[in-house]
Symmetry: C2
Subunit: 184 residues, 2 copies
Protein backbone atom coordinates (compact mmCIF):
# COMPACT_ATOMS: atom_id res chain seq x y z
CA UNK A 1 0.00 0.00 0.00
CA UNK A 2 2.87 2.35 0.83
CA UNK A 3 4.41 1.61 -2.57
CA UNK A 4 1.11 2.39 -4.33
CA UNK A 5 0.84 5.69 -2.43
CA UNK A 6 4.38 6.59 -3.50
CA UNK A 7 3.60 5.66 -7.10
CA UNK A 8 0.44 7.79 -7.05
CA UNK A 9 2.37 10.71 -5.55
CA UNK A 10 5.14 10.37 -8.15
CA UNK A 11 2.64 10.26 -11.01
CA UNK A 12 0.78 13.30 -9.65
CA UNK A 13 4.05 15.23 -9.27
CA UNK A 14 5.21 14.35 -12.78
CA UNK A 15 1.83 15.29 -14.27
CA UNK A 16 1.93 18.63 -12.43
CA UNK A 17 5.37 19.30 -13.94
CA UNK A 18 4.45 18.25 -17.47
CA UNK A 19 3.65 21.10 -19.86
CA UNK A 20 0.66 20.85 -22.20
CA UNK A 21 1.20 18.33 -24.98
CA UNK A 22 0.15 20.61 -27.84
CA UNK A 23 -2.28 23.32 -28.86
CA UNK A 24 -5.99 22.87 -28.10
CA UNK A 25 -8.91 23.85 -30.35
CA UNK A 26 -12.13 25.36 -29.01
CA UNK A 27 -15.69 24.36 -29.95
CA UNK A 28 -15.53 27.15 -32.60
CA UNK A 29 -12.71 25.27 -34.38
CA UNK A 30 -10.19 27.96 -33.51
CA UNK A 31 -6.94 27.25 -31.63
CA UNK A 32 -6.53 28.55 -28.08
CA UNK A 33 -3.25 30.25 -27.27
CA UNK A 34 -0.99 27.74 -25.45
CA UNK A 35 -0.30 29.75 -22.28
CA UNK A 36 2.54 27.52 -21.07
CA UNK A 37 4.52 27.60 -24.35
CA UNK A 38 7.51 28.93 -22.38
CA UNK A 39 7.78 25.41 -20.93
CA UNK A 40 7.81 23.90 -24.43
CA UNK A 41 11.07 23.09 -26.21
CA UNK A 42 13.09 26.07 -27.46
CA UNK A 43 14.45 25.72 -31.02
CA UNK A 44 16.28 28.94 -31.92
CA UNK A 45 16.16 32.73 -32.13
CA UNK A 46 16.75 35.22 -34.90
CA UNK A 47 17.19 38.99 -34.95
CA UNK A 48 15.67 41.14 -37.73
CA UNK A 49 15.65 38.15 -40.10
CA UNK A 50 14.17 38.99 -43.50
CA UNK A 51 13.48 36.87 -46.56
CA UNK A 52 12.70 39.88 -48.75
CA UNK A 53 15.00 42.38 -50.49
CA UNK A 54 17.60 43.94 -48.17
CA UNK A 55 16.08 47.36 -48.90
CA UNK A 56 13.09 46.33 -46.75
CA UNK A 57 15.37 45.54 -43.79
CA UNK A 58 17.03 47.82 -41.18
CA UNK A 59 13.84 48.37 -39.21
CA UNK A 60 13.50 51.31 -36.80
CA UNK A 61 12.78 48.84 -33.99
CA UNK A 62 15.04 45.78 -33.99
CA UNK A 63 13.24 42.58 -33.02
CA UNK A 64 14.11 39.11 -31.79
CA UNK A 65 12.02 36.04 -32.56
CA UNK A 66 12.13 32.94 -30.34
CA UNK A 67 10.70 29.64 -31.61
CA UNK A 68 9.21 26.93 -29.37
CA UNK A 69 7.67 23.55 -30.27
CA UNK A 70 5.44 21.23 -28.21
CA UNK A 71 7.52 18.65 -26.28
CA UNK A 72 5.83 15.49 -27.66
CA UNK A 73 6.51 16.53 -31.26
CA UNK A 74 10.09 17.53 -30.39
CA UNK A 75 10.78 14.01 -29.10
CA UNK A 76 9.16 12.51 -32.22
CA UNK A 77 11.39 14.70 -34.44
CA UNK A 78 14.53 13.62 -32.57
CA UNK A 79 13.57 9.98 -33.29
CA UNK A 80 12.34 10.31 -36.89
CA UNK A 81 13.47 13.64 -38.43
CA UNK A 82 9.80 14.44 -39.20
CA UNK A 83 7.02 16.38 -37.48
CA UNK A 84 3.97 14.29 -36.49
CA UNK A 85 0.32 15.33 -36.77
CA UNK A 86 -0.68 17.86 -34.01
CA UNK A 87 2.73 19.57 -34.00
CA UNK A 88 2.52 23.23 -32.94
CA UNK A 89 5.14 25.99 -33.12
CA UNK A 90 4.99 29.31 -31.28
CA UNK A 91 7.15 32.13 -32.67
CA UNK A 92 7.40 34.81 -30.00
CA UNK A 93 8.39 38.32 -31.14
CA UNK A 94 10.17 40.65 -28.70
CA UNK A 95 11.65 44.14 -29.00
CA UNK A 96 15.46 44.23 -28.96
CA UNK A 97 17.02 46.71 -26.53
CA UNK A 98 20.63 47.82 -26.40
CA UNK A 99 21.21 50.17 -23.47
CA UNK A 100 19.82 49.03 -20.13
CA UNK A 101 21.16 47.89 -16.76
CA UNK A 102 24.90 47.24 -17.27
CA UNK A 103 24.62 46.41 -20.99
CA UNK A 104 26.50 48.85 -23.22
CA UNK A 105 26.33 47.34 -26.71
CA UNK A 106 24.74 44.51 -28.66
CA UNK A 107 21.10 43.57 -27.99
CA UNK A 108 19.02 41.86 -25.32
CA UNK A 109 15.33 40.94 -25.35
CA UNK A 110 12.67 43.26 -24.01
CA UNK A 111 8.88 43.70 -24.26
CA UNK A 112 6.62 41.16 -25.92
CA UNK A 113 5.19 42.29 -29.29
CA UNK A 114 3.18 39.30 -30.54
CA UNK A 115 3.09 35.72 -31.74
CA UNK A 116 2.89 33.67 -34.93
CA UNK A 117 1.63 30.10 -34.45
CA UNK A 118 1.96 27.25 -36.96
CA UNK A 119 -0.06 24.05 -36.42
CA UNK A 120 -0.21 20.74 -38.24
CA UNK A 121 -3.62 19.08 -38.07
CA UNK A 122 -4.27 16.65 -40.94
CA UNK A 123 -8.00 16.25 -40.31
CA UNK A 124 -8.73 19.91 -39.69
CA UNK A 125 -6.76 21.53 -42.52
CA UNK A 126 -6.78 20.25 -46.14
CA UNK A 127 -3.27 21.77 -46.53
CA UNK A 128 -2.27 20.07 -43.22
CA UNK A 129 -0.40 23.13 -41.84
CA UNK A 130 -2.09 26.38 -40.81
CA UNK A 131 -0.89 29.75 -39.48
CA UNK A 132 -2.39 32.04 -36.85
CA UNK A 133 -1.37 35.38 -35.31
CA UNK A 134 -1.98 36.16 -31.65
CA UNK A 135 -1.65 39.42 -29.75
CA UNK A 136 -0.10 39.29 -26.26
CA UNK A 137 -2.67 38.29 -23.61
CA UNK A 138 -5.28 37.21 -26.16
CA UNK A 139 -6.62 33.63 -26.10
CA UNK A 140 -8.07 33.91 -29.63
CA UNK A 141 -5.95 34.48 -32.70
CA UNK A 142 -6.42 35.44 -36.33
CA UNK A 143 -6.30 32.64 -38.90
CA UNK A 144 -4.24 33.16 -42.03
CA UNK A 145 -5.92 31.92 -45.23
CA UNK A 146 -4.57 28.67 -46.75
CA UNK A 147 -3.14 30.83 -49.57
CA UNK A 148 -1.27 33.18 -47.21
CA UNK A 149 2.37 34.06 -47.86
CA UNK A 150 3.24 32.08 -44.69
CA UNK A 151 1.78 28.90 -46.26
CA UNK A 152 3.30 29.34 -49.71
CA UNK A 153 6.76 30.35 -48.44
CA UNK A 154 6.95 27.55 -45.87
CA UNK A 155 5.75 24.96 -48.38
CA UNK A 156 8.25 26.13 -50.98
CA UNK A 157 11.28 26.72 -48.75
CA UNK A 158 10.90 24.67 -45.55
CA UNK A 159 13.81 22.21 -45.13
CA UNK A 160 11.56 19.64 -43.42
CA UNK A 161 7.76 19.20 -43.60
CA UNK A 162 6.72 22.83 -44.22
CA UNK A 163 9.03 24.12 -41.45
CA UNK A 164 12.24 26.19 -41.46
CA UNK A 165 14.45 23.55 -39.84
CA UNK A 166 17.38 25.14 -41.72
CA UNK A 167 17.27 27.91 -39.08
CA UNK A 168 17.12 25.53 -36.05
CA UNK A 169 20.74 24.35 -35.79
CA UNK A 170 20.23 21.39 -33.41
CA UNK A 171 17.33 20.03 -35.49
CA UNK A 172 19.06 20.62 -38.84
CA UNK A 173 21.83 18.24 -37.69
CA UNK A 174 19.25 15.60 -36.76
CA UNK A 175 17.31 15.95 -40.04
CA UNK A 176 20.51 15.70 -42.09
CA UNK A 177 21.49 12.52 -40.20
CA UNK A 178 17.99 11.05 -40.74
CA UNK A 179 17.94 12.02 -44.43
CA UNK A 180 14.82 14.20 -44.09
CA UNK A 181 16.52 17.55 -44.80
CA UNK A 182 15.95 19.33 -48.12
CA UNK A 183 18.39 22.17 -48.80
CA UNK A 184 16.82 25.45 -49.98
CA UNK B 1 -4.75 -4.72 -11.42
CA UNK B 2 -5.43 -3.15 -14.82
CA UNK B 3 -5.49 0.25 -13.14
CA UNK B 4 -2.14 -0.41 -11.48
CA UNK B 5 -0.62 -1.46 -14.82
CA UNK B 6 -1.91 1.74 -16.41
CA UNK B 7 -0.52 3.80 -13.53
CA UNK B 8 2.89 2.09 -13.85
CA UNK B 9 2.90 2.69 -17.61
CA UNK B 10 1.93 6.36 -17.15
CA UNK B 11 4.67 6.88 -14.56
CA UNK B 12 7.28 5.17 -16.79
CA UNK B 13 6.23 7.32 -19.79
CA UNK B 14 6.36 10.54 -17.79
CA UNK B 15 9.77 9.64 -16.33
CA UNK B 16 11.10 8.90 -19.84
CA UNK B 17 9.92 12.35 -20.97
CA UNK B 18 11.31 14.21 -17.97
CA UNK B 19 14.64 16.01 -18.53
CA UNK B 20 17.39 15.80 -15.91
CA UNK B 21 16.55 17.74 -12.75
CA UNK B 22 19.82 19.65 -12.56
CA UNK B 23 23.57 19.35 -13.06
CA UNK B 24 25.40 16.31 -11.62
CA UNK B 25 28.84 16.32 -9.99
CA UNK B 26 31.38 13.52 -10.54
CA UNK B 27 33.46 11.76 -7.83
CA UNK B 28 36.17 14.34 -8.60
CA UNK B 29 33.90 17.13 -7.39
CA UNK B 30 33.59 18.62 -10.89
CA UNK B 31 30.26 19.14 -12.66
CA UNK B 32 29.39 16.97 -15.65
CA UNK B 33 27.99 18.77 -18.69
CA UNK B 34 24.16 18.41 -18.68
CA UNK B 35 23.73 16.83 -22.12
CA UNK B 36 19.95 17.35 -22.23
CA UNK B 37 20.04 21.09 -21.38
CA UNK B 38 18.13 21.74 -24.62
CA UNK B 39 15.10 20.20 -22.86
CA UNK B 40 15.54 22.57 -19.90
CA UNK B 41 13.62 25.85 -19.70
CA UNK B 42 14.70 28.63 -22.08
CA UNK B 43 15.05 32.07 -20.50
CA UNK B 44 16.27 34.48 -23.19
CA UNK B 45 18.85 35.25 -25.88
CA UNK B 46 21.20 38.14 -26.51
CA UNK B 47 23.32 39.15 -29.49
CA UNK B 48 26.81 40.64 -29.01
CA UNK B 49 25.88 41.88 -25.54
CA UNK B 50 28.77 43.62 -23.80
CA UNK B 51 29.10 45.07 -20.31
CA UNK B 52 32.41 46.77 -21.13
CA UNK B 53 33.16 50.01 -23.04
CA UNK B 54 31.48 50.17 -26.44
CA UNK B 55 34.94 50.42 -28.05
CA UNK B 56 35.41 46.72 -27.21
CA UNK B 57 32.22 45.81 -29.06
CA UNK B 58 31.54 45.32 -32.82
CA UNK B 59 33.20 41.90 -32.96
CA UNK B 60 34.33 40.40 -36.27
CA UNK B 61 32.10 37.39 -35.59
CA UNK B 62 28.67 38.27 -34.22
CA UNK B 63 27.41 35.83 -31.60
CA UNK B 64 24.13 34.84 -29.99
CA UNK B 65 23.84 33.54 -26.44
CA UNK B 66 20.89 31.38 -25.33
CA UNK B 67 20.22 30.83 -21.62
CA UNK B 68 18.57 27.71 -20.16
CA UNK B 69 17.78 26.80 -16.52
CA UNK B 70 16.95 23.41 -14.97
CA UNK B 71 13.15 22.85 -14.89
CA UNK B 72 12.78 22.23 -11.12
CA UNK B 73 14.46 25.53 -10.28
CA UNK B 74 12.41 27.35 -12.93
CA UNK B 75 9.19 26.20 -11.26
CA UNK B 76 10.57 27.23 -7.85
CA UNK B 77 11.39 30.71 -9.23
CA UNK B 78 7.89 31.12 -10.68
CA UNK B 79 6.49 30.42 -7.17
CA UNK B 80 8.95 32.38 -5.04
CA UNK B 81 10.99 34.82 -7.18
CA UNK B 82 14.20 33.21 -5.89
CA UNK B 83 16.56 30.48 -7.11
CA UNK B 84 16.81 27.43 -4.83
CA UNK B 85 19.98 25.47 -3.99
CA UNK B 86 21.12 23.24 -6.91
CA UNK B 87 19.99 25.72 -9.59
CA UNK B 88 22.03 25.44 -12.80
CA UNK B 89 22.16 27.75 -15.84
CA UNK B 90 23.62 26.86 -19.22
CA UNK B 91 24.57 29.80 -21.48
CA UNK B 92 25.04 28.44 -24.99
CA UNK B 93 27.10 30.56 -27.42
CA UNK B 94 26.45 30.28 -31.17
CA UNK B 95 27.82 32.08 -34.22
CA UNK B 96 25.37 34.50 -35.86
CA UNK B 97 24.95 34.11 -39.63
CA UNK B 98 23.23 36.52 -41.99
CA UNK B 99 23.17 35.10 -45.53
CA UNK B 100 22.02 31.52 -45.86
CA UNK B 101 19.03 29.64 -47.30
CA UNK B 102 16.38 32.29 -48.07
CA UNK B 103 17.53 34.75 -45.39
CA UNK B 104 18.76 38.05 -46.80
CA UNK B 105 19.34 40.28 -43.77
CA UNK B 106 19.37 40.23 -39.99
CA UNK B 107 20.86 37.24 -38.15
CA UNK B 108 20.05 33.61 -37.42
CA UNK B 109 21.89 31.09 -35.25
CA UNK B 110 24.57 28.83 -36.61
CA UNK B 111 27.42 26.67 -35.25
CA UNK B 112 27.97 26.02 -31.58
CA UNK B 113 30.97 27.84 -30.08
CA UNK B 114 30.91 26.96 -26.37
CA UNK B 115 29.15 27.15 -23.01
CA UNK B 116 29.28 29.03 -19.72
CA UNK B 117 27.61 27.24 -16.80
CA UNK B 118 26.58 28.81 -13.48
CA UNK B 119 25.65 26.54 -10.55
CA UNK B 120 24.37 27.21 -7.05
CA UNK B 121 25.50 24.61 -4.50
CA UNK B 122 25.53 25.91 -0.93
CA UNK B 123 27.47 22.97 0.58
CA UNK B 124 30.01 22.72 -2.22
CA UNK B 125 30.91 26.38 -2.75
CA UNK B 126 31.58 28.86 0.11
CA UNK B 127 30.42 31.64 -2.25
CA UNK B 128 27.33 29.50 -3.11
CA UNK B 129 27.51 30.22 -6.87
CA UNK B 130 30.28 28.95 -9.16
CA UNK B 131 31.08 29.32 -12.86
CA UNK B 132 32.47 26.80 -15.35
CA UNK B 133 33.31 26.90 -19.08
CA UNK B 134 32.70 23.90 -21.33
CA UNK B 135 33.79 23.29 -24.90
CA UNK B 136 31.28 21.62 -27.28
CA UNK B 137 31.27 17.84 -26.87
CA UNK B 138 33.31 17.86 -23.65
CA UNK B 139 31.87 16.33 -20.47
CA UNK B 140 34.42 18.09 -18.22
CA UNK B 141 34.65 21.87 -17.92
CA UNK B 142 37.06 24.45 -16.53
CA UNK B 143 36.21 25.95 -13.15
CA UNK B 144 36.47 29.71 -12.73
CA UNK B 145 38.07 30.81 -9.44
CA UNK B 146 35.75 32.24 -6.76
CA UNK B 147 37.33 35.64 -7.47
CA UNK B 148 36.65 35.49 -11.24
CA UNK B 149 35.10 38.44 -13.04
CA UNK B 150 31.98 36.27 -13.55
CA UNK B 151 31.56 35.95 -9.77
CA UNK B 152 32.24 39.59 -8.92
CA UNK B 153 30.09 41.02 -11.74
CA UNK B 154 27.13 38.72 -11.06
CA UNK B 155 27.30 39.38 -7.30
CA UNK B 156 27.45 43.13 -7.84
CA UNK B 157 24.94 43.50 -10.70
CA UNK B 158 22.59 40.50 -10.66
CA UNK B 159 18.96 41.60 -10.23
CA UNK B 160 18.07 38.43 -8.29
CA UNK B 161 20.36 36.07 -6.32
CA UNK B 162 23.60 36.51 -8.31
CA UNK B 163 21.80 36.15 -11.65
CA UNK B 164 21.02 38.58 -14.48
CA UNK B 165 17.23 38.29 -14.27
CA UNK B 166 17.10 41.86 -15.64
CA UNK B 167 17.87 40.30 -19.05
CA UNK B 168 15.22 37.51 -18.81
CA UNK B 169 11.99 39.41 -19.53
CA UNK B 170 9.47 36.78 -18.35
CA UNK B 171 11.34 36.24 -15.07
CA UNK B 172 11.95 39.96 -14.46
CA UNK B 173 8.16 40.44 -14.40
CA UNK B 174 7.78 37.64 -11.87
CA UNK B 175 10.60 38.90 -9.62
CA UNK B 176 9.18 42.45 -9.66
CA UNK B 177 5.75 41.07 -8.67
CA UNK B 178 7.31 38.99 -5.86
CA UNK B 179 9.46 41.91 -4.63
CA UNK B 180 12.77 40.05 -5.16
CA UNK B 181 14.07 42.25 -8.01
CA UNK B 182 16.92 44.69 -7.35
CA UNK B 183 17.42 47.25 -10.13
CA UNK B 184 21.01 47.71 -11.34
Amino acid sequence: MKKLTLLLATTALLLAQTPSETIQFGADGQPKFPKDYRQWIYLSSGMDMSYGPAAQANPEQSKFDNVFVNPTSYRAFVNTGHWPDKTAFVLEVRAAASHGSINKSGHYQNELLGFDVEVRDDKRFPQKWAFFNFEPGKDKGTAQPATSSCNTCHKQNGAVDNTFVQFYPTLAEIAKAKGTFTAH
